[in-house]
Symmetry: C2
Subunit: 399 residues, 2 copies
């Protein structure tokens, strides 16, 4: 056994990462630490720092004015230094959820060197924090249930004349069942890409767990990249390691919606799908809700289930694209007796800056007598809500 | 258009990450910056810091004693502060390569807040740096060529009575070609998991680019997790977000090697494979080279191509497992006229701490008259070499 231990040390020492850690410091405290009473302690080693704060969505939000809108943004809390180790413990238990946080050291955002689990949101990287304790957070975790397969697969976009990447979830058993499956197309927001629902959205864990519990029909989930200017998520395309930005061209100009059928055709050719309206759903968050609203309206015979999660509604400008023209007539066609979707689902948080736009859109549907299902939650324009909406929406489709 | 821009801002402001960045600082300098003369400038904003250094494998290595061995570990360079921004520019051009680096701020390892591209190596996270300029680095990049599909797929391990995750690369065209493909099993080192070859190893880019250039035969690549105690990479299994460690149980005790055929059987059942010895290769780095050596010797009719990259040889202890017993007799069977692999490939760097063990193993093969192909490079036990070895090995198999 001795030989093996020496060998293990040898090999261990061989990795640059380990060497860096052993020789130049690195993680030396436990952070975050979830205490028995469900309070959470954050620690950061910085003997020379003057101020260290933690910010994240586990803290009460602050109201901040942004453009014409008042936004809820994560609060901050001060860490206190003792022997070079800065520490903060939440005054009360933290509710079960999946959170993101980072440190602010002398005014500079930094990730937690003691926590390797991170998430990128546009050009900002934060650390992940899971607090257990209820069925919601359990849905977001990898449980001991059959797991679907997650694939990064490229399709050729004739509209853009480039190959583009999709993230595709196929349910447990897909490879050998020989069956055909319905398909949920799941769209991200303006800061996201084909990885957003897979990482922050926990879509594959949510589906694994709902399907294993018999609450959702086994389905394929196709997570697209709505930024037509990109081949793939930052760093995953031939653009290389560029600094991620948002509000890219061709995201909200109608071209993504117009070209969407080529993705549906690729998926139907490549996977064992139920290639008809009954076998298709489309849902998205924020900009993805805007896209889902427009795509399902433009192609009224394509999707039988539509989900608008905190959707960016009421912003179409007919001068931009034919897709945005004659919206009311197209909506009328989408909701006529022949095309009417089996489920038209709208969900939003009561402090979302898009609440008013969604209220106006619902009033219009009410006035026209177009049926829809509505979920209102507390909170704003945040992933915590979008994960909840997916977990509520998925069991309602393909039934 | 105005409406759309306002809308984009609204949505942008909605993401917690963006809000954090806008309100609490975050990336505010360009780092790393690759200059026209191929020198590289690193910047870090820390007005209150006392010392800021950069460490990474782009710097000359330092010799450091670790246990019985003298290791090459990444050097350090001091940044100089001006108006709160610390800066370092390499004195000479940096050779084209894929590097990792991090900052050391007042003795603490920290990632670069201006660079969202990171890599986890065991419990240490570093930033990525690409310096272009030759065919080697081009192989590691996503080029405008047909891309294979990368899947995270779970198999049931009867030996461990748990589901475990694999990373599987299928070459461009696999989904629709109807063809059967040969399979390369690619194994990681002691700090790694089923994601190591996919992330630091750039295996899928290397294969995409070699296949597109006609240099490698289209093949499936199966990247296993050699830590039988784990279901999947840290954070991807039901263990949750635990702090990654290495030298786990059941990594070098023979049980991984013994159970390997259940992975091969799963792959042959699940993918369109050439399910015979001629259609199978196995290769690995460090501990993965040790595994590849043992597995190919234990199952002499399973693999026609064997690759030992900086392999941890000469450390088998017969008292641990039957797999490690009668090694010479088994090697004799592996190399008899009937079983002799078409390629037995050994590669190592001239400063690798395993160089001596590999030299002794080659002397033994020479003495016994067992043929092998040998590549010796400069440098030590580092990913830079392992990527090179894969790029050299892949074109030699399935011909």
């Amino acid at each position: 056994m001795k030989k093996l231990i020496i060998c293990a040390l040898m090999l261990a020492a061989g990795t640059a990462g380990y060497a860096q850690q052993a020789l130049f410091g690195g993680a030396s405290v436990k952070s975050p630490e979830i205490n028995a009473d469900k309070t959470v302690t954050f620690r950061f080693v910085a003997p020379k720092a003057v101020t260290v704060q933690v910010t994240g969505d586990f803290l009460p939000t602050q109201k901040v004015k942004m453009g014409n809108f008042e936004m809820d943004v994560p609060g901050k809390a001060d860490l206190v230094e003792k022997n070079g180790v800065w520490e903060y413990t939440t005054p009360t238990p933290v509710a079960p959820e999946m959170y993101t946080y980072s440190f602010v050291v002398d005014g500079q955002n930094m990730t937690d060197p003691s926590n390797v689990y991170m998430n990128r949101d546009v050009a900002t990287v934060s650390n992940l924090l899971y607090v257990d304790g209820n069925e919601t957070i359990d849905l977001y975790k990898v449980q001991d249930v059959p797991h679907g397969t997650v694939s990064k697969i490229w399709y050729h976009s004739a509209a853009e004349n480039k190959d583009r990447r999709l993230t595709v979830y196929t349910p447990a058993g897909y490879e050998t069942s020989g069956k055909k499956y319905p398909v949920l197309y799941l769209l991200h927001g303006i800061g996201g890409d084909e990885e957003a629902w897979y990482t922050q959205g926990r879509s594959t864990q949510i589906l694994d767990n709902l399907i294993a519990a018999g609450k959702a029909t086994p389905m394929i989930v196709v997570m697209t990249n709505g930024n037509l200017a990109m081949e793939a998520a930052p760093g995953e395309g031939s653009e290389g390691l560029t600094v991620p930005s948002m509000g890219l061209p061709k995201t909200m100009e109608g071209s993504f919606e117009a070209a969407f059928p080529e993705i549906v055709n690729f998926v139907d050719k490549t996977f064992r799908t139920q290639a008809n309206k009954k076998g298709r759903a489309i849902a998205g968050l924020s900009m993805g809700g805007f896209h889902s609203c427009n795509i399902s309206r433009e192609y009224p015979t394509m999707f039988n289930y539509v989900g608008l999660f905190s959707a960016a509604l009421g912003v179409t400008d007919p001068s931009i694209s034919p897709i945005y023209q004659n919206a009311d007539e197209k909506l009328n066609v989408q909701f006529n007796a022949k095309n009417r979707p089996a489920l038209y689902y709208i969900a939003i948080g009561d402090t979302d800056f898009l609440y008013k736009a969604n209220t106006e859109y619902r009033a219009k549907l009410d006035q026209l007598g177009y049926p829809y299902t509505y979920l209102e939650t507390d909170g704003g324009h945040i992933w915590r809500n979008w994960r909840k909406y997916l977990a509520d929406f998925a069991p309602k489709i393909f039934k």
